[in-house]
């Protein structure tokens, strides 16, 4: 039971990091970013590259990787998404193309083999009679700290207020002088940084290979559908629900069944409550 509680918390916190970034971009900029999983992969590979080739300390490499991916998110918004905004399917298509390009670039640059990223905390810690790797507990702590900081930023700063205003009414926000494009770029940067942080934190104990962005992308999408597109609160609740449901299934039934959990959740949500748990029903 303790194992389910602990490991469920680990996976839920990673899902929350991924889903909040994904839903933030959708809720504020109305952008369906299918390259979100690629930011996750780039965070992990960036850390790997800087710790192995440049021999940078892990903390420095991880911080740099997150900042570089955030900058990439901003550039992507400015160069690829902004010119296509308002043209229907063009934005999801261009982000999908970016995801494929990044995956192929990682494949060509690093090969298809698994890569090792060292742990921030190598020690194993006993919690409630369960030996848990320090890295997993670190992941939980950092994830919720980052999400708390994000909450403070959005609710207590001027730029955060601009983000909130844009998520509620774009036109009204423009009328009061909020620089829309700049806020969209900021949100994209934050979203990319959150995904990269998830990649950096999980790389030491999960898989690092070129296709690693796909499953997190699917999970983030599933969580956002269950929680309600554009709802940060919904994403966090759905991340906890899915994280714990998957862990429960893995422990009590079989690991082979875990991937079905998110699909079943999406299916059930779309049938029973299409707007998601906290989504706003629109006509």
């Amino acid at each position: 039971m303790n194992e389910i509680l602990i490991y469920g918390a680990v996976i839920s916190s990673v899902y929350a990091l991924l889903a909040v970034g994904f839903t933030l971009v959708f809720g504020v900029a109305r952008t369906l970013n299918l390259a979100h999983g690629s930011f996750y992969a780039l965070g992990a590979y960036g850390t790997f590259l800087m710790t192995t080739s440049l021999r940078l300390p892990l903390t420095v490499a991880a911080t740099l990787a997150v900042l570089i991916v955030a900058a990439l998110g901003v550039v992507m918004e400015r160069v690829l998404i902004r010119p296509l905004r308002g043209t229907g399917l063009a934005v999801p298509m261009v982000t999908l193309a970016v995801a494929l390009v990044i995956e192929q670039a990682l494949f060509l640059g690093f090969g298809s083999e698994y890569r090792n990223v060292p742990s921030f905390i190598a020690a194993s810690v006993g919690v409630g009679g369960v030996d848990v790797s320090g890295q997993r507990l670190f992941t939980v702590a950092v994830s919720w700290s980052v999400l708390s900081c994000l909450w403070v930023f959005v609710h207590r700063t001027r730029q955060g207020s601009a983000i909130l205003a844009l998520s509620q009414d774009r036109e009204a926000a423009q009328y009061v002088g909020i620089p829309v494009d700049r806020v969209y770029a900021l949100v994209m940067g934050i979203s990319a940084a959150l995904a990269a942080t998830a990649g950096v934190l999980t790389a030491p104990f999960l898989t690092v290979q070129p296709g690693m962005g796909l499953m997190p992308m699917i999970k983030a999408f599933s969580i956002v559908i269950v929680g309600g597109l554009g709802s940060v609160r919904g994403s966090i609740v759905a991340a906890l629900l899915l994280g714990y449901a998957e862990t429960l299934i893995a422990y009590k039934v079989s690991t082979s069944w875990t991937e079905l959990v998110s699909l079943a959740a999406v299916f059930t949500t779309l049938v029973l409550r299409p707007a998601g748990l906290f989504g706003i029903r629109t006509r």
């Binding site: 790797s133 890295q135 082979s256």
Partner: protein, 412 residues
Amino acid sequence: MFKRLVRLLRLPIILLAIVLAIPMAIGSVAAQTSTAIRIGVPTAIQLRVGRDTVDAVRMAIEEINADGGVIGRQLEMVVADETENPEQGISAVRKLTTDEKVDVLIGGYASGVVLAEMPHTAQAQTIYLGVGAASPSIAAKVKSDYANFKYFFRVSPVNSTHLAEGLVAFVSGNVAVNLKYARVAIVGENAKWAQELVPTLKKGIADAGLSLRMTELFDPQTSDFSPLFSKARESGAQLMLVLLSHASSDTFVKQWYDARVPLMIGGIDTKAQDADFYERVGGKAIGEFTTASAVRAPVTPKTIAFWDAFVKRYGRAPVYTAPGAYDATYLYASAVQRAHGTSADVVIPQLEKTDYVGVMGRIAFDDAHDVRAGPDYVSVRFTQWQDDGARVIVWPRALQTGNLIVPPWMRP
């Protein structure tokens, strides 16, 4: 405006077309008129197993060519990436047999891919010497439909049934005797070779008097193994027998080490055979044992010489596909020499008569064109990752270079 653009670009486009067409035409003519014996290598070139296949075939070709070639002809190699995807594998063998018109194929890695390729190589009537896939179904096809599938021979590894028997022999003859671990759990990826191996493994475990506490096959895409470790621990097992080839061994081993799972691990783990595996996982493979077709030990007079030459040439130790690919090239050359030709009809009977002492051991084929396994032929060997990344041969006894150890947190 548009017409002007077309006028401007016309000449560069024509020149580009000519530049591209000339090498293609030359290549095509060369492929048709070359007198060299062409060896096609379909393999997963992004993986170490694939790169080692290519490098070992290249090494053998250079040595044979330096000795004057075969029946007065030089050997040359053409590589095609089959990845781990059956569709890509079919494209690769079609390219090699139809476009490149190779005389023989040496390669293959994933059993599912090789099984998908076989009908196409049979249709092309091209001999295929497998060096990477372990599924018994591959050789079973030869036995059940010889006329169609006689073109396939498995040079390495020994099939997964033999691997299972070898694993049971090692566990009952060494692990259970020296470490007193007799309660085992089988944990492996849900892939064809593993599915086929499990029944033999279960039977062997029962026959050897060991206690099987749990069997679970997981999706090869699984990235979090904590639930599996928990179940294995709760089952009362002392040893987790792993069956890993396509799944992430790196992640599996790292999570096992990080959680200090109180069970020893080992079995058939393809990626743990990589020379850099210990370093790649930050030393967390300590205590893991795995099958090892490629070992630096005096298995035959050729084994250490091959190992050292490979390391000198490529700067890394070979994985299991390398000795297989090297031996396959030599035994094909020998069969062609005896047949005085490269036609499949004359080479196949010669390959069937193979009795060749290679790098892996004494190689001969059974009536399903499967490499014979056992003490007199190719035996299943085990190495263990020990302190400071040393890879110690722990089975068979005749080649043993050290004793088994347990992971640090399980030491008394």
